[in-house]
């Protein structure tokens, strides 16, 4: 009964969505000269970042990113609150083989450097704070699953997280302090396509990278450790 109802509902929904999507323009420049045109035209000269997506995320729509960081922070907080047991447990029963252990030990620092590369070069190449943070967290995950007793101090992680988050907000407030608006770029823009360019963008992305990395690592560790 429930199945039939669901299929009926999905059929109706799908039919209408399909009807709408059929009218959608695909592959043609239908918004010219909309918002996108303005972004593409001005980004390099006005923000100094080469990657337009990054400059939108961090600069034009930087407020969204602040919210996004907060969402991830919330998820981490909520998870650790929900999984809170007051006691810690051992992670796994079975040891990994020597090959996996040696391999992850070798790969771990390289993955961390890769993550650092991704978030430092956020304004030049694809990627940025979130991606870099996720890569770093994956590096830690590699160690967690290979070594039973690999331990990362939650104290340090949470300190890093708090500091990085505050740095983001404080960088935003600096703009207000200098008589401009919140999150406004108050640093020199630099020469496009050099590492030191884009004003605040790389700094914010480094803060975001640290924050996301610490958050996701803490999250994985909590999930792996608690409950049976």
């Amino acid at each position: 009964m429930r199945k039939i109802l669901a299929v009926f509902f999905i059929g109706v929904f799908g039919y209408y969505m399909l009807a709408i999507l059929m009218d959608f323009p695909f592959g043609i420049d239908h918004l010219n000269p909309g918002l996108a045109g303005a972004y593409l035209k001005d980004t390099v000269s006005k923000t100094g970042a080469v990657n337009v997506v990054t400059s939108i995320i961090v600069n034009y729509r930087g407020f969204d990113t602040l919210g996004e960081v907060t969402v991830l922070f919330l998820a981490a907080t909520g998870m650790s609150a929900l999984l809170y047991d007051g006691k810690t447990m051992n992670r796994s029963r079975q040891n990994a083989s020597v090959i996996v252990k040696a391999g992850s030990r070798l790969l771990f620092p390289l993955i961390i450097i890769l993550g650092a590369y991704v978030f430092i070069h956020g304004h030049l190449t694809p990627g940025g704070g979130f991606q870099g943070g996720a890569i770093i967290a994956s590096g830690f995950l590699l160690m967690f699953i290979s070594y039973r007793n690999y331990h990362v101090s939650h104290r340090i992680l949470s300190n890093v997280e708090s500091t990085a988050g505050s740095v983001f907000v404080v960088l935003g407030l600096l703009g207000l302090l200098y008589g401009a608006t919140f999150l406004e770029n108050i640093m020199p823009l630099g020469i496009p396509n050099k590492l030191f360019s884009g004003g605040l963008i790389p700094l914010i992305y480094i803060a975001v990278g640290f924050k996301v990395g610490a958050e996701l690592t803490a999250l994985l560790d909590t999930m792996l450790k608690t409950v049976k």
């Binding site: 991704v118 990627g127 996720a134 994956s138």
Partner: protein
């Protein structure tokens, strides 16, 4: 019909089949593996659609992290769909 759209169509078929597999499979681990395939193909899609930033994010989050969250959850609960 150029070559690229043939590739896109093939990938679309694979994507939809993988999504079906996620829903149909009785074994949750297999479903999670299939969702990794969905994420893999959508990552190729983002790449073809000239969105390397998004493709990178999907690769970083979809393939590794989300999958791992699901695996940990299955490890802590149970594997079969009753």
């Amino acid at each position: 019909m150029d070559y690229m759209s043939i590739i896109v169509i093939i990938l679309a078929v694979l994507l939809i089949l993988a999504a079906f597999f996620v829903i149909r499979s009785k074994d949750l681990v297999a479903a999670v593996v299939a969702s990794a395939v969905v994420s893999l193909i959508s990552s190729i899609y983002f790449y073809i659609l000239q969105a390397p930033d998004v493709a990178l994010t999907e690769a970083a989050i979809g393939v590794a992290l989300t999958t791992i969250f699901f695996m940990i959850t299955i490890r802590k609960t149970r594997r079969d769909e009753e």
